[in-house]
């Protein structure tokens, strides 16, 4: 079947379009929205959708641009003829006309039926379902936009019968599984699923599982029964063992009691022997002691004799040494005495010099006191003069009025008030002055000479000569009298005050005050000088100095007496100082000499003492030795008196040694007897036997307890028979095991059947799918190279997703990239079409609507080789694309759609 042309009218975007198709390769190019997919869909519907289809399907075909019902006409070639199917999709009034060129024409349903037959599809009849189903027709050949990368195997399933029929032919007499095969296989598969999980383990509560559980339970019960039985056996064993222990221990008890008795008897004997041994030990000890004492005394006598000789030898050289030491002591004593004398002499000389020095010093002191007395006497004179001057000044002050600062201040205040009163009076008073007068002028009776003036504060008679008597009255009226009175009072007060002070006036008072201040200052200065010269104690100091001089003079007299005559007194202090210095120097030298003598005396004293100590020690040693010798002689005499002479002592010593040996022999014999009796271990033995007896009793008690416990366990009420329970449980395990094996074998048989059926199915399917896989591989190799293979599997009659094998590595469909998926799916579709084309005169059209959107440009170029192979193998490849340039290498007829038709 080959499409020749597609014509559409009033179909969505298309008003009237006819596309002529190449028998093998056509590229329908056009931009988006140019109606490529619409054209492909229209062709599909012309072939498969009933013309009378209405509803939504019909509406989707109606053009909103162009009036009139959608119409599609497809010319195609099949069965050796050219047909034209023309359909008008106008719902119930739709029409279908199939025409064989140069031949018959079919209308409507006949046309639809004939068309279905030509296309070898099922006539789907009418109705809603038919429209839906028709859309699925030939979907393996119509690759719609967006579906190119989808798994193509469902399409193979949809064509399974045709495909398998063709594959069966090419597969070489292969037979498909029958219905019975399927039924039986399903039955075992179901049986397997009932018995086993997907992991192949027995399902819970399945027969094998229940058999396993039964076996487990039976084993548990057997173990319980065994446990019970073992407990009984254990109890019986314990009972017997405990009985044996009791018997053994009773036997042990007898033996131990016997041993104990024997040990006790031995112990008794050992006690007696020990007592005897103690007595003999005491005897031996005493004998030894007597011998020791004797031997010690004998040794002591010998020692004393030796010591006596030694002491005597010591005493002889002692006398000579005594003499030597005495001489030495005497020598040191003389030397010491001589030094003492020398010291005495030197001391006297020093003393005389010291007395002279003290005399000189007393002279010097007397000079000093004299000098000091003179200095104080001079000061006393000055003090007396100052005293006199102060008295003089005091007298002058006493002669002056007692104008103190306060009195002056008060007087000045009175004076100021007087002046102010006078001023106030003068303010109201009248002045009168005599410029020139030839006549005497008197004012108030008092002459006023030319050039003089007078203030008149009261009515005053002024006479000029006699020529005139004038009464002058000052102004002020009554106030004048007040002022005059106040002025009078002030004046009187001032005068009184001046009188009280003894001054004439304020000025006089001021002068007096100044004079007084002057005299007071002088007096203060003199007084300070007087004080500074120590006027307060000048008399005492004078008296002291006098007394000191007297004392110094007395001291001189005393010292002179000590020194005696012949020592000239110095003339003055300087001479005294010179003498003193000279004497001090001499005295220092004498004292040094004296100290040297003293050191020698001390040294001599030390040597003397040493010599005396040596002498004393030596003498003491001699005395001690002599004393010791005496003691030794006494003790020696005493011992010999007590113990006899040497011969007697020898005899006695031998007797004592013999006695000791005898005592020791007896003791040794007794000890040997004790040793033979093993007396030392008898107590331990007895203790051991007692312990063993206790242990045996304990063991018997313990064993009897255990026997009682075991006996209790062994005592039954007879309700059950553990032996029977054990036997039954054992048999039950055997039975359960047998059942379990049987069930397991049956289950394994089911598993085997299920697996074998699955395996055989796969094998069968492989035989069918091999030609398909090889055909696909042929296409894939155009793209992926000669190593490329396709793996196609049938599972329970359905195709599984194809697998791409490249270079030995298998890639499942889902793990491929988008581009590779598109290419594998296209190869699958091409191979399918190639195989199915055998039912359609060796050709089928394949419409790829934008089917390689995910392929890169390089891959797009190589896949054109694949598409070309399909065309070469007789298929009709129709590509719809908006990138026609990408398929330029295909050498296809290119039809361009420009967009909305006008």
């Amino acid at each position: 079947m080959r499409l020749l042309s597609i014509a559409v009218r009033n179909y969505r975007i298309h008003r009237d379009l006819t596309v002529e198709l190449d028998p093998f390769r056509t590229v329908i190019a056009g931009p988006n929205e140019s109606g490529k997919s619409t054209l492909a869909e229209a062709a599909h519907r012309a072939l498969f959708l009933k013309a009378k289809t209405g509803g939504e399907t019909q509406k989707t075909m109606v053009s909103h641009l162009w009036p009139g019902h959608p119409e599609v006409e497809v010319r195609f070639e099949t069965a050796g003829a050219i047909y034209r199917i023309a359909k008008r999709f106008s719902g119930g009034s739709g029409t279908a006309t199939l025409t064989r060129e140069g031949g018959q024409t079919w209308k409507q349903d006949e046309a639809e039926s004939e068309l279905a037959e030509l296309l070898r599809v099922e006539d789907l009849g009418k109705g809603k379902g038919a429209a839906r189903t028709s859309a699925r027709q030939w979907t393996h050949l119509w690759v719609r936009q967006g579906e190119s990368g989808a798994d193509p195997s469902p399409h193979a399933d949809s064509q399974r019968d045709s495909l398998l029929a063709r594959l069966q032919e090419s597969g070489g007499a292969a037979v498909m599984e029958s219905e019975l095969d399927s039924r039986v296989a399903s039955r075992f598969n179901e049986a397997f699923e009932t018995l086993f999980t997907k992991a192949g383990k027995p399902k819970a509560h399945s027969e094998p599982d229940l058999a396993n559980q039964s076996l487990r339970k039976a084993k548990e019960e057997l173990e319980n029964a065994r446990q019970t039985w073992r407990q009984l056996e254990q109890a019986a064993g314990d009972f017997l063992a405990a009985g044996r222990i009791v018997t053994e221990k009773n036997s042990e008890l007898e033996s131990l009691s016997r041993s104990k008795r024997e040990t006790e008897e031995k112990l008794e004997k050992a006690g007696a022997l020990r007592h005897r041994a103690e007595l003999e030990e005491r005897d031996a000890r005493q004998a030894a002691l007597a011998l020791d004492n004797f031997m010690r005394t004998d040794r002591e006598i010998a020692d004393l004799g030796r010591k006596k000789r030694q002491l005597k030898e010591l005493l002889e050289p002692g006398e000579a040494e005594t003499k030597r030491l005495e001489t030495q002591a005497t020598s040191w004593k003389d030397k010491h005495r001589s030094l003492i004398e020398e010291s005495r002499r030197q001391g006297e000389e020093t003393k005389a010099t010291r007395s002279r020095l003290q005399l000189v010093l007393s002279w010097k002191e007397r000079f000093d006191c004299q000098s000091r007395l003179e200095r104080i006497a001079a000061v006393a004179d000055e003090v007396a003069d100052l005293k006199k001057e102060i008295h003089s000044l005091d007298s002058r002050l006493a002669a002056l009025p007692q104008v103190t600062a306060a009195a002056l201040k008060s007087l000045q205040a009175l004076s100021r008030a007087n002046r102010e009163a006078a001023i106030a009076l003068q303010a109201v008073a009248a002045g009168i002055a005599v410029r020139a007068s030839s006549l005497p002028v008197t004012v108030a009776g008092e002459p006023l000479a030319a050039g003089e003036s007078r203030i008149l504060t009261e009515d005053t008679e002024v006479r000029v000569g006699d020529a005139a008597c004038l009464l002058v009255s000052p102004g002020g009226g009554a106030r004048l009298a007040d002022l005059r009175q106040r002025a009078e009072e002030n004046r009187a007060s001032l005068e009184t005050a001046c009188k009280e002070l003894g001054v004439k006036s304020e000025e006089d008072a001021i002068q007096v005050r100044e004079r007084r201040l002057e005299i007071e200052n002088l007096r203060n200065t003199r007084h300070a000088e007087w004080k500074a010269k120590g006027a307060d104690d000048i008399d005492d100091r004078l008296a002291d100095a006098t007394h000191a001089l007297e004392s110094a003079a007395a001291e001189v007299v005393r010292r002179q007496e000590a020194v005696g005559e012949g020592f000239t007194e110095p003339a003055n202090l300087e001479a005294a100082n010179g003498m003193a210095a000279s004497l001090r120097s001499a005295l220092d030298a004498m004292e040094a000499t004296e100290m040297g003598i003293q050191a020698r005396i001390e040294s001599a004293e030390e040597e003397l003492q040493k010599a005396e100590r040596a002498l004393a020690a030596h003498r003491q040693g001699l005395e001690k030795t002599a004393g010791e010798l005496k003691v030794v002689e006494i003790r020696l005499a005493t011992h010999e008196e007590s113990h006899g002479d040497a011969a007697a002592r020898k005899e006695k010593g031998e007797a004592l040694a013999q006695a000791r040996r005898e005592a020791e022999r007896k003791l040794e014999e007794t000890r040997e007897a004790l040793k033979n009796l093993q007396a030392d271990t008898l107590e331990a033995d007895l203790e051991r036997f007692n312990r063993a007896l206790d242990r045996a009793h304990d063991a018997i008690g313990e064993a009897e307890k255990r026997r009682a416990v075991a006996g209790n366990l062994l005592t039954r009420d007879g309700a059950t028979d553990p032996a029977e329970a054990l036997a039954l449980a054992g048999a039950e395990v055997e039975l359960a095991r047998h059942r379990q094996i049987e069930v397991e074998r049956k289950a394994e048989a089911v598993r085997l059947l299920s697996e074998l059926f699955a395996e055989r199915r796969r094998s069968l399917a492989d035989r069918f799918t091999r030609p398909l896989a090889e055909t696909i591989a042929g296409y894939l190799q155009q793209i992926f190279g000669p190593e490329a293979r396709a793996e196609i599997a049938l599972s329970e009659g359905n195709f599984e997703k194809p697998v791409l094998n490249r270079g030995g590595r298998a890639f499942s469909f889902d793990e491929l990239s988008g581009g590779a998926r598109e290419q594998l799916a296209a190869a699958f579709r091409l191979a399918m079409a190639e195989i199915l084309a055998q039912d359609h005169d060796g050709c089928l059209p394949l419409v790829f609507d934008d089917a390689f959107a995910h392929s890169d440009p390089d891959r797009t170029r190589t896949l054109q080789r694949m598409l070309d192979l399909a065309a070469r193998r007789g298929l009709q490849v129709i590509l719809l694309t908006c990138h026609p340039a990408a398929y330029a290498d295909l050498g296809a007829r290119t039809v361009s759609l420009s967009g909305v038709e006008n």
Binding site: V175, M176, E177, S178, L180, D181, S182, R183, V184, A185, R187, F188, L232, A235, A236, F239, L240, G243, A710, G711, L713, L714, T715, R716, D717, G718, A719, T720, D721, P722, A723, E724, A727, L728, G730, A731, E732, E734, L735, R745, K746, E748, A749, V750, L752, L753, L756, F757, R760, R761, S763, L764
Partner: protein
């Protein structure tokens, strides 16, 4: 006049028959052992036995339950003559033994005052015989239980039990001359057991009869030394020489050879059969043979059946149907089925040459191949083949 007594042993009352999975059938087997006591009593009466000697294993275990004890004592009590028993290895007289339990003593005193358990190895003088019991005081006695008899000489025995009465030794264990081929005790135990009796070391002239227990088949060791065997068999036969299901009527006199008469007392049939299939047509042959074993009886027989050979799938199904029927008819069908399912050529063809069903044919072919071996895989494959055959038969 000779003393007549019954020598029996190995009653093993209360034996659980644990391998019999049906509890009712188990109960029948156990009950039958009690019924055997009645039959022994009848024999004793018929032969006017003075007493009955049970040479050990009166009970099956030392911990037997009270109800069995009660039933046993009741049955023994009805015998009305003295029944003297020694503990055997199953009901030994060790610590916690049945004989020491209060409930046993009580039932014995109440129901079976004629029963006496001889737990001490010491001579016992009866009116007409002197007994020398050799009780087992533990399950496995390493020492010869009859060793104590070696201490005696004639004068000692004469002083002890006199010289008139026959002297009878009562012991339980295996004698030295056993060839080990037989089943001494119990179904599963080997002959390599302790409790060995060195019968040759027994001063033969001193004793007139040795009554032995432990060996479940009746067997003469010497003319004066016998195993009585169990009165009721309790296992499948293991050879022609094994003759269980009897008691011995013994007439013995001092210093005279005893006369021993074997009296059958068994009621249940314990059978063993082997059969090898030579073809599918042998299934009816087996059916016929089995019918000959039990006749029309049901519930009285036990059968150990060993099957070998091979059968086709359908014949196997027929065999299983047959065996199911026999399993219900018998007290126990101890089946040792080693029959191999080997589809016959028709069956193989019917499965593997199904041109229209390629899957089934191929799988069947695989299974036929796998089923050829002897291992576990082959067994599973044979089962699978049967299931496939059944599935095809049903679905086809």
């Amino acid at each position: 006049m000779a003393t007549v007594f019954l020598h029996t042993a190995d009653w093993q009352l209360g034996k659980p028959f644990a391998r019999v999975s049906d509890p009712e059938k188990r109960a029948v087997l156990r009950q039958e052992r009690l019924h055997a006591i009645q039959r022994i009593g009848t024999v004793a009466k018929e032969h006017e036995a003075a007493f009955i000697l049970v040479a050990g294993d009166l009970f099956d275990s030392p911990t037997i339950c009270k109800s069995t004890v009660s039933q046993a004592c009741s049955a023994i009590g009805q015998m009305e003559i003295p029944v003297l028993a020694i503990p055997g290895n199953h009901d030994h007289g060790g610590p916690g033994c049945l004989w020491d339990q209060d409930f046993f003593r009580q039932e014995q005193q109440t129901l079976a005052p004629n029963l006496r358990i001889l737990t001490t190895p010491e001579p016992l003088e009866l009116d007409c015989a002197a007994l020398f019991p050799c009780p087992l005081l533990r399950r496995h006695e390493s020492a010869d239980p009859t060793a104590w008899l070696r201490q005696f000489d004639e004068s000692a025995l004469a002083a002890s039990v006199g010289t008139d009465n026959p002297r009878i030794v009562l012991a339980h264990g295996s004698v030295l001359d056993f060839d080990g081929s037989g089943d001494i005790d119990g179904e599963e135990e080997s002959s390599n057991v302790p409790n060995l009796i060195d019968i040759d070391r027994l001063p033969a002239a001193l004793f007139d009869y040795v009554a032995l227990g432990d060996w479940h088949g009746t067997r003469e060791i010497h003319p004066h030394c016998w195993y009585s065997g169990a009165p009721e068999p309790d296992r499948f036969p293991r050879g022609a020489g094994n003759d269980p299901g009897n008691v011995l009527v013994v007439a013995v006199d001092r210093c005279a050879p005893p006369t021993v008469q074997k009296i059958p007392t068994a009621r249940l049939g314990w059978h063993g059969r082997e059969f090898e299939f030579d073809g599918d047509e042998d299934v009816p042959v087996l059916e016929e043979k089995l019918s000959q074993v039990t006749g029309n009886r049901a519930g009285r027989d036990l059968l150990r059946l060993s099957l070998r050979g091979s059968l086709g799938i359908e014949a196997t199904t027929r065999l299983e149907t047959l065996l199911d029927a026999w399993d219900s008819r018998l007290l126990r069908l101890d089946l040792h089925n080693e029959t191999r399912i080997a589809p016959n050529p028709e069956e193989i063809e019917a499965l593997t040459r199904r041109t229209g069903d390629p899957l089934i044919s191929a799988v069947a072919g695989d299974l036929v191949q796998r089923a050829a071996g002897d291992g576990e895989e082959a067994i599973v494959a044979r089962i699978a083949l049967r299931r496939l055959h059944a599935a095809v038969s049903v679905a086809g």
